[in-house]
């Protein structure tokens, strides 16, 4: 009746997952009960769960990502602490657990922490920077978010019901095939990613269409912000790469469920093909993460240096160059699989070439600072930390791109240190910079600077203390994913890394404290005008938070850095531009489609994992029914009357006029 699912699926005799699971389940229940008792449920349903507003969806994505970042970080703490004590000892995590933990760590961090944060920031910011009201397909956007949440839910469910994959985050066959992974772990992985992959692909389609077809009047391509360019490049990569992931994981699912032989050892299966296909997705994936991060840094460095971005067109060229070349480097992930010298050399050279594009960007940021008036706010500190640290990480990447060097360092802790170097300095620092930078726009008050700076310095220090020793350990020959080890030479470095993780825990604590303190002090930290940083792009023209329709009247873009131009004219003439003519605005209605579809997809995914076939059929049928029901809608939009638009916008103008009168043109 319930397929393979029995009460034994719950880890009764394994204290760590049992207790962890119980804590999480209780916490979730507590939150749900509190929400219901306080009467917040209707508000949450109406304003957030069924919202198709890109700003709300962006916040939810980012929140999901941050929570999963914490979960992935806990996995990291467990890994580092296990390795710190497991020198000629068993440690506290037996291999069955440790192997799930490092697999979950990678999977969660890439798919459910980094991707959602990046997509969340793009969601929130891109339509505002383009000067428009929403993305191309708002309801699809909501569905994308909820499908991603489904994937996150399934992965986390594996902690309490069943197990997770014990294969590493990329489930290489034959280890991930049925004979060597007969449990449900790999199935949890497969369905979580297949489902959330659909969501991500839809995001890609949504944003490519938005950026190319929906911009404010007068905004030509070269008048878009650089963040929008990097968002375009990342979403083009999503559209071109995620289908490969879907195909490859689909093939593995066919192997496991229907006895196909794509990657099995026997009957002609080819495991090398999996590795090629998965990295053909995998390399563009890391650029999907890092290109928007570069965009965030471009915005932050430009704003806090008080200068336009240096060499904007070169930045655009470098971005699109990286976008294209990222498809031509995938083999550098497996130089040691024996492809031969010609092939290895080709991909080594193409990998080095892509470093040129990134190098150009670093120099453009450098010269953006040159001649600027730099304000060391928290986002700017994150950017400086990134510039220095990412340069080191990029360098070690180029070292690994040389096949003879990779022959020594593949899969070692040197590799682990390299990719954490670029992902933490690149994506994670950008996440915090972007969140701090756009937080006031989203919520109407800034984050506390003191705690933000503390979090930055501790993160920076913690990163170096964890990962520099890992570079050394890799050079000493230590390979990755070891549950215990006996080589004495590695021990001091692993211990130092263990200390480093404690520093990062302190940093994480500072982040949490920063949030709590900021909420408490929100009246002091209030952003009255909507432009707390003396910004240069269009999102700072709106109030904080912006109204659902973003702009009362779509701005007429009259040059690059449109908002800066508007501001300079206002300062020159000491008055705002004349009041525009207000008209009613049509906005898309909220829809529960995304949430309900995701609910049935969760059900279907869970049923597929546990082989509960009737539930699979039911879930698919219900998902189709939801699709038809949504398609049957007659009222898709609602109208905001002109008077309301006018009232709202006049208030915004009053706040700006006040600021202008008080400050007469000095930056806020």
């Amino acid at each position: 009746m319930f397929g393979k699912l029995t009460w034994d699926a719950i880890p009764w005799n394994q204290p760590i997952p049992l207790v962890a699971g119980a804590v999480v389940v209780l916490a979730v229940f507590a939150v749900v009960i509190w929400v219901v008792l306080k009467g917040y449920l209707p508000y949450l349903w109406r304003e957030w769960i069924t919202s198709v507003d890109h700003k709300r969806i962006g916040v939810m994505y980012t929140l999901l990502g941050v929570i999963m970042l914490l979960r992935g970080f806990i996995d990291a703490i467990m890994m580092r602490s296990q390795q710190a004590i497991a020198f000629r000892a068993a440690g506290y995590l037996p291999p069955e657990h440790y192997d799930q933990i490092f697999s979950a760590h990678g999977t969660i961090m890439i798919f459910f922490a980094a991707m959602p944060i990046v997509i969340g920031l793009m969601n929130f910011v891109v339509p505002l920077q383009l000067g428009v009201r929403d993305v191309a397909f708002p309801t699809l956007n909501s569905t994308s978010f909820w499908l991603t949440a489904t994937g996150a839910l399934l992965v986390n469910l594996s902690l309490v019901i069943g197990e997770f994959a014990r294969t590493g985050w990329l489930v290489y066959p034959p280890l991930s095939e049925l004979p060597y992974s007969p449990g449900v772990g790999v199935d949890y992985y497969l369905w979580a990613l297949l489902i959330s992959g659909v969501g991500t692909l839809m995001t890609g389609i949504n944003f490519v269409t938005t950026i190319l077809k929906i911009r404010a009047p007068g905004m030509s391509y070269l008048r878009m912000t650089i963040f929008c360019w990097t968002a375009l490049a990342a979403n083009l990569l999503i559209v071109a790469a995620f289908p490969i992931l879907t195909a490859t994981l689909g093939m593995l699912a066919l192997d496991r469920y229907l006895g196909f032989h794509f990657f099995t050892n026997d009957a002609g299966g080819n495991m090398m093909m999996f590795i090629n296909l998965i990295w053909a997705w995998g390399h563009p994936e890391v650029y999907i993460l890092v290109l928007p991060a570069f965009g965030i840094f471009s915005e932050v460095i430009s704003t806090f240096s008080g200068k336009p971005l240096f060499n904007y067109r070169s930045m655009v060229a470098a971005t699109m160059f990286i976008c294209l070349v990222s498809y031509m480097v995938w083999l550098h992930h497996f130089f040691t699989m024996g492809a031969g010298a010609d092939v290895n050399a080709f991909f080594g050279i193409s990998t080095s070439i892509i470093a040129v594009g990134t190098g150009v960007k670093v120099y453009n940021w450098l010269f953006t600072m040159y001649g600027g008036r730099i304000r060391f706010t928290t986002p700017m500190l994150w950017s400086l930390g990134f510039l220095v640290t990412f340069t080191i990480g990029g360098m070690t990447g180029v070292l690994l791109a040389v096949p003879p060097a990779d022959f020594l360092l593949h899969n070692s802790l040197f590799l682990v240190a390299h990719f954490h170097n670029v992902i933490i300095a690149g994506v994670v620092f950008a996440a915090f910079a972007g969140i701090t930078y756009w937080f006031p726009k989203a919520f109407g008050f800034k984050l506390d600077e003191g705690w933000g700076k503390a979090a930055f310095w501790l993160s920076l220090l913690g990163f170096y203390v964890v990962f520099m020793p890992l570079y050394v350990a890799g050079l000493l020959g230590m390979t990755r994913r070891l549950q215990h080890y006996d080589v004495a030479a590695w021990r001091p470095w692993v211990l130092v890394a263990g200390i480093g993780i404690v520093i990062m825990m302190a940093a994480a604590a500072c982040q949490v404290i920063q949030f709590v303190v900021s909420v408490r002090r929100r009246n002091e930290l209030r952003d009255a005008t909507g432009d707390p940083w003396d910004g240069r792009s269009l999102e700072w023209a709106t109030t904080s938070p912006p109204p659902p329709f973003n702009f009362a009247v779509l701005p007429n873009v009259q040059g690059a850095e449109p908002y800066w131009g508007i501001k300079q004219r206002a300062i020159e003439t000491q008055q705002l531009s004349p009041e525009p003519k207000y008209e009613p605005i049509e906005m898309p209605r909220n829809s529960p489609t995304g949430f309900i579809t995701a609910f049935f997809c969760t059900m279907t995914g869970f049923a597929l994992i546990w082989h509960i076939w009737w539930m699979v059929a039911l879930g698919l049928l219900a998902a189709y029914a939801v699709f038809v029901w949504f398609a049957w809608r007659d009222a898709v939009e609602y109208s905001i009357p002109a008077e309301e638009v006018a009232r709202y916008d006049r208030e915004r103008r009053r706040a700006r006029e006040q600021w202008l009168a008080q400050h007469g043109g000095q930056p806020a």
Binding site: F310, T336, L366, Y370, V388, L461, M468
Partner: protein, 307 residues
């Protein structure tokens, strides 16, 4: 601490942290036991390329990082001496340099990559007057089997080779993908079921080296290390003779016993080896070794292997 150091610490604490990294890395040039302490020609060549590439990259990276820190500090808003130039947003000269210098470096590095990849191709034999020793390697769950086809013996979890003589490895896997890696001897190579990869390594002098799998392969992976002993020629002949006195022989049935998943296997030897065994494993005449629970395996074409 000198006042210069104090100045740096106050003004630019980042600089300390940052310079620590390459300094540590560089000071490891003689760090024993790892890939920067090679004991064979392949490892030495690989390490040389690594360090050369590092040197080339540091030439770019160090000035860049210094420039980042200096610019950030000099152009801080409170520095009234710095000239605010909000119009400085484009420079053809700078553009030429920032595209040009990396391209030149990459061209050079590209040459290193092309030549290095060909010289150090694992398939390429080592030039040496001595005739190479043949070793056939099978990675199992979770131990290593080393077959010496010319000597007719085999060993588990211990690889004994004569020093100063090139060794030609033919590698395959009995089950999942692994990676044969002896850090101090150099290049690693994957092992895969149904396929044969090749590797050439040599140890210059006698010594004992750590070997491991560099590709996670399941629960017993952490114990999947082995010892490599490079010994003088006569000691090698001695070891072969001793091995020929071992208790067990490696034939199909003892291979199938070895197939069962086990870890932490203490090294032992086989006194004789079935001649076609390695090829039978590599060509899948002997089916892949089973995983943890044979009943749950998916539908296969061949009959399940004998227990």
């Amino acid at each position: 601490m000198s006042s210069w150091a104090a100045f740096l610490l106050q003004r630019r604490p980042l600089l300390w942290r940052v310079s620590a990294a390459p300094i540590i890395l560089l000071s490891l040039s003689n760090c024993s036991g790892g890939v920067l302490d090679p004991q064979g020609p392949i490892g030495a060549a690989n390490a040389k390329i690594l360090l050369n590439a590092l040197g080339i990259m540091l030439v770019i990276v160090v000035p860049t990082i210094i420039a980042i820190l200096i610019f950030a500090w000099w152009f801080r808003a409170s520095n009234t001496r710095a000239r605010y130039r909000p119009d400085f947003v484009y420079s053809g000269g700078i553009e030429t340099v920032v595209w040009g210098i990396p391209i030149l470096v990459i061209l050079f590095l590209g040459g290193v990559i092309w030549i290095g990849s060909h010289d150090l191709d694992p398939f390429k034999p080592i030039a040496s007057p001595a005739k190479p020793v043949e070793v056939q390697v099978v990675s199992l769950d979770w131990k290593w089997l080393f077959i010496y086809p010319e000597q007719g013996v085999a060993s588990v979890n211990e690889l004994v080779v004569p020093a100063g003589v090139p060794v030609h490895f033919s590698l395959t896997s009995a089950s999942v993908m692994n990676m044969f890696f002896v850090p101090q001897l150099g290049t690693m190579i994957a092992t895969m079921n149904g396929m044969v990869t090749q590797l050439h390594l040599a140890a210059d002098k006698p010594g004992e080296f750590y070997g491991q799998s560099a590709q996670y392969s399941g629960g017993g992976f952490s114990d999947m290390n082995f010892t490599v002993r490079a010994v003088p020629q006569d000691a090698f002949a001695q070891w072969v003779a001793t091995a020929r006195q071992s208790r067990s022989a490696l034939d199909r049935s003892s291979y199938l016993a070895l197939c069962q998943q086990s870890s932490n296997v203490r090294p032992f030897t086989y006194r004789e080896v079935d001649a076609g065994l390695f090829n039978a494993v590599a060509s899948q005449q002997l089916p892949p070794c089973p995983g943890p629970n044979i009943e749950r395996a998916g539908a296969t074409v061949r009959p399940p292997p004998e227990r």
